[in-house]
Amino acid sequence: MSSLVGFLSLVFAIGINFYLFLSRYIFKFQKQKFNFFIRFSSLLTLLSFFSLMYAYVISDFSNYNVFQNSHSNKPLIYKISGTWGNHEGSMLLWLSILSIFSFFFSFTKNIEDNFQKLTLIIQAFLHILFGLFIVFTSNPFLVNSILVNEGLGLNPILQDPGLAVHPPILYAGYVGYSIVFSIAIAGLFQNTDDEWLYVAKKWSLISWTFLTGGIALGSYWAYYELGWGGWWFWDPVENISLMPWIAGLALVHSLMMVRGEQAIKKWIVFLSILCFSLSVFGTFLVRSGILTSVHSFAADASRGIFILLIFFIVTGFGFLVFLLKEPKKSNTLNLLFINKVSALVINNILMIIATLTILLGTIYPIIIEVLYNKRISVGGPYFNATVIPIMIPGFLLMSIAPILSWQTNKMNNSKKYVIAFIILSVLVLIQSYFLDFNTWGFVGLLLGFWIILASIIAIFSSYKIKINIKFFKIINPHVAHIGVGIAIVGITCSSVFQNELDFNLSEGDKFNINGKTVLFEKIETTNQINFQSLRGKFLFDIEKNQSKEIEAGKNYYPVSKMITSEAGILHQWNKDIYFILGDQKNNVWFVKVLINPFVSFIWLGVIIMIYSGLIAVTRR
């Protein structure tokens, strides 16, 4: 029943969007009526999504999708997240988020009516494309042809609270760029005033903030769930999310420097199209299963071709309009040797080069396989060797960019900065000398601390310190950069200075980590609702009264016959001690311990970035 409701409302929603799309040419109607239809179709799409969710919650195995991906033993939260834990459901989620964005955009004020209408018509067009994709190739409402009373389970690795919310947030980021795309295209069609740039800025900030949160959640999940000790693996699916993130960052920064400069407007339109294109391309790569990755999803060639077609239409349409209706030229950029504009332009160029480098590395295996019929994989070494050096000059510029002037080459208080930089360099050099010297470590730490320090100096020397909302809005760009600096310190320390220790232990053994005694207490197996767990219990720092307990082990999921590894992590502010329980032989267990310094700084940095994203949205 719920499947029927879901399917019908989905089809009905696509129908309304088709009607709206045609309204540009045939049936013209009033703004109120138009907005009503947009909102109505959004609600229908949501109804469709919630019908599917309902089928998951009540374990309605007459729905083939539920049968394939759920199990009545699963806890409720994972039944709900199971809705988007599979291909069909996740595409419906994609469409629902598109609808939500259209819904809210229809309430935007201070924007010209025709312009808003045109934007929403482009949204309707996107809704039709993805809606048809769902109906024809990925229908989540198919009826199960046989009667069953139990489902086939859900990929147990996805049974995790972090991952339950990761896809919706990530999708909100991806799909949010659809609005930015539509606004940009509408802007090309209608050469109105520049009011649309401010609207675009708001939406691109919202999308970017969601994308940041989504990527961070996925990364955090990989860190504690995959049990490999790292948080970023340059996996194709990670790269796919990183590309629109960097392009989106360039977009947000370009939107900051709009001052009626046409060249920049052109660039903004280009970036807006690029961001959404990369999002759709990412969807294509993941959903066609064309790339192998830790994110194993079901593959189906017909789906792949359909979504490739959508990608082609959307991107081709976007760039074609860009080619034919390019914004007229008027004034040129106010580029000086070193002012805000030139710093931002250089940073934009670097970000695009980084994006293209990642794109090349990501699709390179496809090209090679087509040409030479060989399967290769491009991994960490390529990306580390190419992307990081491209970003470094950008980070350097970023530390001083907020204090540069718009109009002149002058830099306020430049002396202060030079002195601070020299002192900092010496300090980091001394620190590196006493620890093992590592070039990357030195560069990373210097950059990270420099960004933090320069931003703090800028805050204190440029503004009067007040504690009110307005002040926090003014210093927001600096705060964002402090977040980046903190994250860079965390990234550098946890990757360059990671320490790995291997032990072979029996129950009751004691061993030493960084001078602290650790007791391998016991191995325990227990039965949980939907899995069996095996845990090695460790007591950290037993000489102290408050020794900390760490559990590392594995879960075995009988329904899907999968074993997942569960790392045991002791979080401290300056390091994570990461326990991985390996195999055993004659009751001797292999235990790997990783010491990851300053990992918490990465998450802290990301939280600060998300905070400033949110603040920036509220700022005009």
Binding site: I146, L152, I305, I363
Partner: protein, 174 residues
């Protein structure tokens, strides 16, 4: 000059779409990376017959001939789809040993299923607790393995096999 710069994204788009499309149409399946078990020895197993609990099959009993191992269950709907194909294989390759593993099924249900749809297997082993499937690394039902005369796994397929898979992937190995 300016025109060319603006054209670049379209050119890149065409190149990407061209390669992606060629890749998709070439029938390559990136989702089936070579299994970790491929070209490895078949895991050792021991299973009783569905029809006679005294009849036991072990890995060593079936050396020196090609074996097709299929994991199935009465509750698995895709299994029903591929089921008729095993009759075809059996008829065409009488020397091939068809071994079915009934996966986590009540005996009565399994028997009824093979009564209704027919039994194409030379031997139906019981894998009531799913331990054999675990050894083989079975992810979901149905799953099919081809073992050569030396006892090495030379082919693995997840999901229901189709006529195309049979013709293009399994038959060349027989």
């Amino acid at each position: 000059m300016n025109r060319i710069i603006i054209l670049t994204p379209l050119i890149i788009l065409l190149i990407i779409c061209f390669f992606s499309l060629t890749y998709l149409l070439s029938g390559k399946d990136p989702n089936k990376p070579p299994s970790a078990l491929l070209n490895k020895n078949v895991p050792s197993f021991e299973s009783t017959s569905l029809y006679d609990t005294k009849e036991i099959i072990r890995t060593i009993d079936i050396k020196n001939r090609k074996i097709l191992i299929n994991f199935f269950a009465s509750w698995c709907s895709p299994c029903k789809i591929e089921h008729p194909l095993f009759f075809e294989i059996g008829k065409k390759y009488p020397e091939l040993y068809l071994l079915g593993f009934n996966h986590k099924d009540p005996t009565s249900d399994a028997k009824k299923y093979l009564e209704d749809d027919g039994n194409p297997y030379d031997f139906v082993g019981v894998d009531a607790d799913g331990l054999i499937a675990l050894e083989f690394g079975v992810f979901g039902l149905p799953e099919t393995y081809l073992i050569n005369e030396e006892g090495k796994i030379i082919f693995k397929f997840m999901g229901p096999i189709t006529k195309d898979v049979l013709k293009n992937e399994i038959e060349p190995l027989l």
